[in-house]
Symmetry: D2
Subunit: 354 residues, 4 copies
């Protein structure tokens, strides 16, 4: 068990940062859907690196080849497999890293788990690169959801302590954020975030951030009690994204500081429909959707790969030593993780709604 999730829209990821290819099998996409290559391509491009100086300069063509599941571009009920070749790999210089685990990376625990046989090159199967096939699955899921009136949207809610405005939890704004360098609601905040990122990059450092995601158009009554509630499943999927270290729904952690009378969402009737007056529940009560937008936030830690000198140990010699990580890294991975978080939400709801 590990790289698969879902019951009906079952996603199986494979690949390592430097293997021949990475990819995903989706078993089973409903039959009769003409996959929108343009939509998928555009969505995946949002995750792709190298777009601007706020992200890693590593270039990836990242064009998925769909090798199964289609007849003339239309899904046929067979598992859809998409493969993305790894072309831009430099695997020469991993001998040092093999013996010197990078702080706050998977290197050391993977070394233990796999008795030293883990693929250290570029982070192996733990690499953020694996979120590319996840985005492919997410794009397919989104296409399915769009037809059901469900829309998913995320923005950078914070970077290194600079906070954007939150979504209006009662009705998520329709602005298209995808063209912005940093997808924020308040562009002034976006400018400040960019400054923080640039500063960190120049210092050989990195910064963390928070992503807020909203799922609109979800009907009430989705999800199951206890272990299969909406919060449970979204969390299970979102923590698959490297660097995510926290998640909260609705008022989340801040609800811990509130009174019940402040936090409860009273029911009212609006336009002949039952809605809640506030949405501190984030659209979920008892694990089940209330019909209000599902709102959650994911905390993304600062990129673990930094140029600054750090301390680590030599595994073979059991000695402490300095470490300087070379190579290409995002100074703030939260930016590129925005569509990935959307993808996680999308596969969650596709699994529930098909």
């Amino acid at each position: 068990m590990s790289s698969s999730t879902g019951n009906k829209f079952k996603v199986q990821i494979f690949g390592q940062s430097h293997s021949e290819a990475i990819g995903v099998v989706i078993d089973s996409v409903p039959a009769g859907i003409r996959l929108d290559a343009e939509f998928i391509g555009k969505f995946m491009k949002r995750r792709a690196p190298g777009k601007n100086k706020l992200s890693t300069p590593r270039k990836e063509a990242d064009i998925p080849e769909i090798i199964s599941g289609l007849v003339d571009g239309v899904t046929c009920g067979a598992p859809v497999c998409a493969v993305i070749r790894n072309t831009n790999v430099h695997s020469s210089d991993y001998d040092f890293l093999k013996d010197h685990p990078r702080p706050s990376h998977s290197d050391y625990p993977a070394y233990i788990k796999y008795s030293g046989f883990n693929d250290i090159r570029g982070g192996g199967q733990f690499s953020g690169r694996l979120t590319a096939p996840l985005c492919f699955a997410g794009a397919v899921a989104m296409q399915i959801l769009k037809d059901k009136g469900v829309e998913i949207k995320a923005h950078v809610y914070s970077v290194n302590g600079v906070y954007d405005e939150p979504f209006n939890p009662l009705s998520v704004q329709p602005d298209d954020l995808t063209e912005k360098e940093i997808p924020v609601l308040n562009d002034e905040k976006g400018r400040l975030m960019a400054e923080k990122i640039t500063l960190a990059r120049q210092a050989g450092d990195s910064v963390g951030g928070i992503i807020e995601c909203a799922v609109s158009g979800v009907p009430a009554g989705l999800g199951d009690p206890m272990f299969d509630g909406i919060e449970n499943i979204i969390s299970r999927n979102v923590f698959a994204v490297p660097a995510v270290k926290g998640i909260e729904f609705g008022s989340g952690f801040s609800s811990s500081e509130k009174l019940g009378s402040e936090n409860n969402d009273n029911y009212i009737i609006k336009d002949g429909k039952i809605v809640t007056e506030t949405n501190n529940s984030g659209g979920i009560a008892g694990g089940i959707t209330t019909g209000m937008p599902v709102i959650f936030r994911a905390a993304v830690k600062p990129t673990a790969s930094i140029a600054k000198k750090q301390r680590t140990v030599s595994l073979s010699e059991m000695q402490e030593t300095d470490l300087e990580i070379k190579g290409r890294h995002d100074p703030c991975i939260a930016i590129r993780a925005v569509p990935v978080i959307e993808a996680c939400a999308a596969i969650t709801f596709a699994d529930l709604m098909i």
Copy 2:
């Protein structure tokens, strides 16, 4: 799917607040374990209500009857089923609630999901009462883990904005908090929390809080990549606890405000073993345990049931109306949720380590 979790230590919960009984089937507990009835009873008592004026006065005998899985008190490899009778139930006055969903409860989404056939009495299957059998499973898991050197411990980290000290993430203190009215590290903070709770109760209101949990003695290398990482599984299990609305591991949300150089956990050698200098990762990197204590915090919203007048709608008449909830409720459910969170951690690690 819904009320079951786990693969090897598979927990299936059943029951409603006012059904004949609630309970759990654990499939499969390893054979050859003499279940420690005293330990289990003591653990479950920590969750039981009615202990003091900070919790609901509802009295529950809560003595689990183990009806399968044992031979002379020793597990035999067959599923262990424990049943707890519901004795102290008053089901007379649920007609009004059936038509008037309580704010921020499962009532309305469950009404939609189950076409009105959901059990509204005491919250039905969504009741916090269902955490009693979860605690039974957790106690069995803990007994198994103790033999493997794993210890699980939680405290109330905050109530309504009053914060306790955090655990030392490098080495969790061995103090026994279980005898305290509110299990905190700093008793003065505990006193302030009690004041907050009393105030809220007197006002017919409720307060939220945060629970911090530490799992010590976990070997490095546990967990699987992507969807079956430690964070994924703990989250899936913890969100089964009613009122939990957020979870974070290690530095969690606060890592979003940090630099990589502040947040990364350098490796050092201590007493001949590889450890990290800090533990902002909460003992998990790449989803896999690092060998450091696993640390997480769960945000618990204020109890949704409050005595104060609220607004809701009549489902049958589609009209807004006032609502006054009667009955017995915890003014701060976070207190009694402490052992439940421990139980969630316990079943997670038992599933991975047996």
Copy 3:
């Protein structure tokens, strides 16, 4: 993993032959179904022993107590748990058996698997007694299926080489066989079977048989490719019944002796609907239902418990020795297994159709 099956109509069995109780949790039965206690009771009675001299004289009240999942007799979406107390148990004389595994029973493999901690009393969790809760689940499933026009029916197809007529695979006859001592289509064959059974019983021996089961009214298009085809799932469920050692669908093993032109089922149009002219496929092609009756046969070995002297070994002394099994046993377990096979088919289709 072990005693549970299904995804949507998820069945978790628990208990041992001599534990306090046996039972089942069904997670999740659709909400809004008034469970028909009379139907369930009647169905379970068909499996119950002690009805006539062809079965074991062990008496079991076998009245399931439903302790969760209902509100006023109607399902509410919460897991349904039914408990059956074990009352008629004699656990005194299992010391000898503990050390002397009975031939062709689970005793020895269970001893190895559970390091000697397995429950030997009455066969423990491997006892045929565990099919009682399976029948409860099957009865609930059947009630659900009946509303969808699906009917399940089985008969004793053979006993010790005496063969009944097969079902007409194109249209299963509506006769009610449940009142017969041995449910057969041809009563003369039933009489001969009874003779074989009586003869075996008198000789302290036992006989095997074959059960044929038909599921009528199933729509075309159910089931999934490869590992989740109808044959795969029915098999997985049917082999849960102790003593079943083979299963075949449609012409099954006899198809191996046929030509393609003999075995293929041509399509024709009858009453404006597409049907097959023959049904050698047993209603399944490519793992998916064709719309014709699903027909399968399960081979049931002779009861392993026989009074005749056998040879076994002492596990502690590693010596060969004689064994004489005392107690109450069915001379032909295939008879009482008829409703159990129906139950397996029922939970399979309930899982697919709800």
Copy 4:
């Protein structure tokens, strides 16, 4: 759900007969295994068509490209993905078949299930071609099992009523059958089988057969009770092979004609170890391995594709009509299915033993 199986050695198949490629993801192969390309290639070749005139002349290069999961040829713990390109495809003439379902093929049920969007070309995802990636997974599993002393071997037990000798169930002979045109124990029977196949082929017809498979070296105590017994899991996997319509373990269906005293396997001591005197149980009791060879037989129906004229219907016109299937087909698919059945056994035990 559909094309995946297993928990620890999790196999996900993808592809259709005429899609760009077919393949498999194995999540997760233990780290540190150097995959033996020669062994895998040789194993897969046994399944490949076109070897002699008893099989279809369709040529498939069938060389799997391993695109993930390896570092320098050694498994690293990441999912192993193998892709096989479909090169020899003729997709021109499927318009007629799209509207005229072939008898006893998946065409009609798949048409219903997928609302006409199913891939009809070459049988789509239901094609026997999908057993190529299954064999890849099986070969990897076999390599793992060999290191644990487990060997898997199958032979053609019957073709069209001509029966080979059975394996000696107490000790499976070590002869290598893989070089034979038809892998049988008795070559004279093999010759007669070849005659039957040739006769059928010349008549534009096909024949069925039975495959017997033995798994030697399995320790006692593997498997779980009820739904996860060895018989349950092997069956679930074996019915994934197209054309399999029955399975039996040990004495299987013939046990139904026996007395308990004939069928029971007495325990004896041989060479200081506990073994059974006979092996009518096929190495499994109570779903758990006994330590004796696991023996099962799978019934394979005659190839559904025959050249002879058959009757079917036009789906669009709802009219009966003649059908003549063109193209390349095996006159007896049981021959090439031998390694596929071995592969099914291999993935079953790899899942249990890693």
